[in-house]
Symmetry: C2
Subunit: 557 residues, 2 copies
């Protein structure tokens, strides 16, 4: 059965009942969206402040491959397994982006028997958060061009506008556009472009904001452009945009509650890109789960070098969250890919390639242990093509580097298939304090922070940048030197070359661009070409997505 | 108090309870969106098919002016009044567009003590219908450029693509743009543009569709472009887009239930532009209200020459709906504006201008009586600036042309203020069959239909068109001669000149463009420049919109 078919057979419980029975969330603090989705009121979230914190478990992965690793699936499977073992656990996931559903990827709500439901709703519109983010972003865009059209009293340099437009669609034709054509009634001609909604700074802001006041303050301090003197920033608050933007996010700021196939609660809230943003769900969602449950299982985008690093250095640093452990998800197929096997040949046993590709896992494991200061369990997300010899080899390789390695069959078996993993996680987190390390200090200069990340985590020998970029970093250092770094590099490799698999070393990381995300509160350091607007493939998933006369959706994976 | 302050003091009932108690709608057929909004399942809608129909009352208006007429306010006030008189009544309104909220207009959920609530939700995102329409539209746009990028197997002529992109924002800079810039990875360069979401054909389709199957069929037959032979149409179904588009509209197709300040039910569903589309809420919503209630009060966009004509000739013709009466809303201020008074001087008594401007009302009244074959009551929507002498003159002028005229104070007094109006409406609709006339026959050639509308309703002497447009109409006649016409002309005047107030006669209506809306099933005849993407004013309403730390929204009128 396909994921959607499994999801459609789920016996869902009414979410208000489930939330009340399992965690005592009062119905009046839940805004239902249909019968199986609800938003939690901020008043209720705030009422939990004095509760003690549960243990925070982060699921991360080796460097992503086209073979798929199953990070969300593992987060759900592990959470279901913990609940099966009688441990009160809530899962915290990112909201899927709508655009990619119609491209290659299909849905993003777990897979097999480890899914969150209602799967169609979660993948299509959900509770409207991303639409609200998109409108808030585009309101600011419209206000910028409107301000210039009506006389430009703020002296915005139209050549130095940083704020693009966004749409939740994979649409390459909108990457670079010219706007304001057609004469004076349509404003001034300039170059612009659309990013996908998950790349919006508004998304990053929503995910890091700790209250409505903080949200509005962050929105107001977004730097949208520079004045004609080239150096004076223009802020969103100069356009009086932040009040209306925050009003548009009035519901988006509230965490969303859904359930797994096994009727355990999951909070799905926020979903920033893991390259030009920090790739984690909202601070509010994670904190709420920790206040309600004894264990919260969450995920971060891409591999342990990207999403997990930002989870530590951005999300935890800003919010005070303290993780207890990381689970590093790998598959035999993905490791063989890192060992040089073509995508088409991954189902064939190949011990040599597995051994070679293991270098990728080893680097991530050591990074977690040595640089995040956290215990790490390797989870082999089982595929039916995996051979016994491959699994045995992988376990042996893990043992050799001192890594606990658990074969997990949650995709096929749900929570029952991840009980071993859950037991190993419990054995560690129940017996240690939630201590961890940041990769760099907040006080280090921006350049040093980037260098620290690249040399410690990526195995790079050095970083470099053009004189122009160096000067920009120097300029940002003056007022924003204390900001954390949000590295934007390819997720496919430790280096900046996506084709460099395994665990490359000694390379130079060239910083091609830096961007100030003043509202989010970090500096984006871009290494290589970053895609902030995906395209659709030759045969888009949209072609197979359908709905029956009775309203049953098909073709969404 | 401002509209939003009045709305925030409303004592709302939980919508599920209210719907169950007043009309017996079972809770399991309602999808709650928070506690005060709900969607009605299509299964329930279909279960009502054999119920008898209530009486359908259409609220329309004189030609709109910047002074405001209060059509939505009157629809709500009249509905509340009918309920006060013990008549089971449901109001059917259009959903407000988000973009204009941030421009001049502010909210659009009635006014004063005749409003629908929750006002902030209805104006901001509501249940997400317009977002879903926008994404469905833009998915098709992305699929078109993606198809061309991947080899253009369908031989789409990129110069003859009819399908633009949409956004729910007043953003003049997006009216005319160039897309696909930046090299081969971003596709092929071409001119494009964004319309506001309410102008999307997907919106018109959703409002006219009678089932999920009909919706998908209509989406599939949208003409997106022509092939390089210049004449062979390319349909959305050729791109296999219609299944995914219909899936995106899975919830948008369900009518939305809210309540008035007086706790009476209102269905708010759909909101197409009244110029390039037909300007009425969904057929599904109106039919549902008629099956549930004894009276349904609804509205149509702009004046009685535009929205009401399309209500008759498009919505009623396609759906079999039968109106019983039209209520023609006018204000003393608006009539003075039609009589030549400047916007700034409308609060000063001016009997001469009122008398001159009355010509506009008279033409609309006669059109309704003679060409729609319906009884018409004139409703004077009372403003505190109106003088006794002005009201007396207006009543006397109405009497002289045989028009029943009722002064109505629902803005200030809610339903109680519209009881006189309600009684007059009842006196008529309870004593006549629901008979009416179309303005033209479906069998007339397209050109004749346009001419009939212009000469009968607008007082025009003739219509004209360039040889190019004439040829296009001739070409459309072959396969689409039976389609109704959707006239797109300025709403400000009976002529095509927005500054020609009152009741101009003898003018020529120049048809500058025709467009095939094959999914909606009508031909758009454009007379003059039609704005399908508004701009923001120098001081946008967005600047004053705000939200407090506790989540209370202000500045939304």
């Amino acid at each position: 059965m396909s994921d959607i078919e499994i999801a459609q057979q789920a016996k869902m419980r009414p979410i208000i009942d489930l939330a009340g029975e399992t965690f005592g969330i009062p119905a009046e603090h839940l805004d239902p969206y249909g019968h199986y989705k609800a938003k939690i009121s901020l008043e209720y979230v705030n009422s939990l402040t004095n509760n003690s914190n549960g243990k925070l478990i982060l699921v991360t992965a080796i460097s992503p491959t086209p073979a798929g690793e199953g990070k969300t699936t593992t987060t759900v499977g592990l959470g279901d397994a913990l609940n099966r073992l009688g441990k009160k656990t809530i899962m915290c996931l990112r909201e899927p982006s709508l655009g990619p559903c119609f491209g290659v990827k299909g849905g993003a709500a777990g897979g097999g028997y480890s899914q969150v439901v209602p799967m169609e709703d979660i993948n299509l519109h959900f509770t409207g958060d991303f639409h609200a983010i998109g409108v808030a972003h585009n309101l600011l865009s419209a206000l910028i061009d409107n301000h210039i059209n009506h006389g430009n009293a703020l002296d915005i340099d139209p050549r130095r506008i940083q704020w693009k437009r966004v749409i939740d669609m994979n649409d390459r034709a909108l990457r670079k556009i010219t706007i304001g054509q057609g004469g004076p009634a349509n404003g001034y001609l300039r170059e612009d472009g659309f990013d996908i909604v998950v790349a919006s700074e508004v998304m990053a802001i929503l995910c890091l904001a700790t209250s409505r006041a903080d949200l509005k303050e962050r929105l107001g301090r977004i730097v949208i452009a520079y004045k004609s003197d080239r150096i004076t920033p223009v802020y969103a608050r100069d356009l009086k945009a932040h009040g209306a933007m925050a009003a548009l996010l009035k519901d988006a700021i509230k965490p969303n509650l859904v359930q797994t196939l096994e009727n355990n609660l999951a909070i799905i809230h926020g979903g920033p890109f893991a390259n030009i943003a920090h790739g984690c769900n909202t601070v509010t969602a994670t904190q709420t789960a920790l206040k309600l449950a004894d264990y919260a299982v969450t995920e971060a985008g891409f591999g342990a070098d990207l999403g997990a690093e930002k989870f530590i250095d951005i999300k935890c640093r800003m919010s005070g969250l303290k993780p207890s452990i990381m689970v590093l998800v790998a598959t035999v197929r993905a490791l063989k890919f890192h060992g040089g096997v073509n995508k088409e040949d991954l189902n064939v046993e190949n011990l040599a390639a597995l051994e070679t590709g293991f270098a990728n896992l080893e680097r991530h494991f050591n990074n977690i242990k040595n640089h995040y200061g956290l215990p790490c369990i390797v989870c082999i997300n089982h595929f039916s093509f995996d051979t016994d010899a491959e699994i045995a080899l992988l376990q042996q390789k893990c043992e050799a580097i001192g890594a606990k390695c658990v074969l997990s069959k949650h995709w096929a078996q749900g929570g029952a298939g991840a009980e071993d993993l859950a037991r190993e996680v419990l054995a560690i987190v129940d017996n240690r304090a939630a201590e961890f390390s940041y990769v760099y200090d907040a006080e280090q200069p921006l350049w040093d922070k980037i260098e620290t990340i690249a040399t410690k985590l990526y195995g790079a020998a050095a970083i470099s940048a053009s004189p122009k970029v160096m000067a920009e970093i120097k300029a940002l250092q003056v007022n924003h030197g204390h900001f954390p770094i949000c590295m934007a590099k390819t997720q496919m490799s430790f280096s900046t070359n996506p084709n460099s698999k395994g665990a490359p070393s000694g390379h130079t990381v060239e910083i091609s661009e830096v961007r100030l995300a003043n509202g989010a509160g970090f500096i984006v350091a871009i290494a290589g070409d970053m895609m902030t607007m995906p395209g659709l493939p030759k045969v888009p998933a949209a072609e197979r997505i359908d709905i029956s006369d009775a309203g049953v959706i098909s073709g969404l994976f």
